[in-house]
């Protein structure tokens, strides 16, 4: 089918991306970090590792009124079995000051809907970008003794309270698929209304 080959070649010569350079490794790494959340279970210490990076994605997706799960496509999007679901628009995460502006009033119902793991814990250590919390109570999910939070590239401004994990303080933390739910769903246990929110949700 040389006729086809000719047509294909001719079309290829007009490919706008023909001269595009391959994605740089650091760009790939950055995209991966932004995308992935890690939930590394270490049976020996019964630890969970959570990250904040994608948590904001989850949150912004959530406050946008969507969750990117099976069968929750945009209204006019077909979403039968096996069809990819369209993602909501996720805005730039690298703008902590604006992050709070995207948060809506947290509700117990939403917390229950989004979270797959929620606990109360006290920070026992912070080093090299990892925060370790000793779990005092698990509201939802598999019982664990310790949770580690990777601080790489997260904006802490959206944690209730001082906005960051501090040694010795107690926190209430909810997570979805390994990402912490911020935006009023996680923070210092003493933050007004947070404990009530957890009690109501779980």
């Amino acid at each position: 089918m040389t006729d086809d080959d000719d047509l294909r070649s001719r079309l290829r010569r007009t490919d706008p991306a023909a001269r595009m350079t391959p994605a740089a490794p650091e760009h790939i790494a950055q995209l991966l970090e932004k995308t992935m959340t890690t939930a590394t279970v270490r049976p020996r210490f019964d630890t969970r590792l959570l990250t904040m990076a994608a948590a904001a994605l989850v949150l912004i997706a959530a406050v946008g009124g969507f969750l990117i799960t099976r069968g929750t496509g945009a209204p006019d999007e077909p979403s039968g079995p096996g069809r990819p679901v369209a993602a909501p628009t996720v805005t730039d995460l690298a703008a902590p000051p604006g992050a709070n502006a995207k948060c809506v009033e947290p509700s117990a119902a939403k917390l229950k809907e989004y979270a797959d793991f929620a606990f109360a814990g006290t920070v026992t250590g912070i080093n090299r970008g990892a925060v370790t919390l000793a779990v005092t109570h698990v509201y939802l999910g598999r019982p664990v003794d310790e949770v580690r939070v990777a601080q790489e590239g997260y904006s802490s401004e959206t944690l209730l309270g001082s906005g960051r994990f501090e040694q010795g303080l107690t926190y209430l933390v909810a997570a979805s698929e390994g990402g912490i739910l911020v935006c009023g769903y996680s923070g210092e246990a003493s933050a007004p209304g947070l404990r009530e929110l957890y009690d109501e949700a779980f």
Binding site: R13, T14, A17, L32, K34, E77, A87
Partner: protein
């Protein structure tokens, strides 16, 4: 799938997906939209990793296609206006075309139905076989083969018409569905 396993799998496939989907988007939209949609596409791929088939790219293109459609929906009206004004332009690609400026081909492509032009782009630019095109568009392999074949014919017809304006009717004409 264990979280570690998921992570490893995603790290394994992501570079190829980022590269291919990045190109796919650069061919169809502006750089800023391409960046946003690439991030969204990855997020959806990550969340739906359990459904990822053995042949990854068509699946990823399919997700990117829907994410892009979402992103463009809000700009569609503006988009249509552009399409009317710039009918000679290839689909809103901001990437500079250093390749040959094939005005005849661009015009012929512009005269095709959007679906047909997209089939041809998937075939020539993304270099996909009919079965893979089917996976991107969510249609049967058979339908993809038939539509691709027809799209090629239509493109050839349009090129011919551009060369012989008001010329004699071609045999392939009069078979429009």
């Amino acid at each position: 799938m264990e979280p570690d396993e998921r992570r490893r799998l995603f790290e394994h496939v992501a570079p190829a997906v980022i590269d291919a989907v990045g190109r796919y988007l650069a061919r169809r939209t502006d750089a800023a939209t391409a960046d946003d949609v690439l991030q969204e596409t990855l997020l959806v791929c990550w969340r739906r990793l359990d459904e990822m088939p053995a042949v990854v790219l068509p699946w990823a293109y399919g997700i990117a296609r829907l994410c892009l459609a979402n992103a463009e929906r809000s700009r569609r009206r503006q988009h249509r206006l552009f399409a009317r004004i710039l009918r000679l332009d290839p689909p809103t690609s901001a990437a500079a075309t250093d390749g040959q400026n094939d005005a005849e081909l661009a015009e012929a492509m512009a005269r095709l139905r959007a679906e047909d032009a997209e089939l041809l782009r998937l075939w020539a630019w993304e270099d996909l076989a009919p079965a893979e095109i089917a996976a991107v568009l969510g249609i049967s392999g058979n339908a993809a083969s038939i539509r691709l074949h027809r799209a090629k014919q239509k493109l050839r017809d349009e090129i011919r018409k551009l060369r012989h304006p008001g010329g004699h009717e071609e045999l392939t004409e009069g078979r429009r569905p």
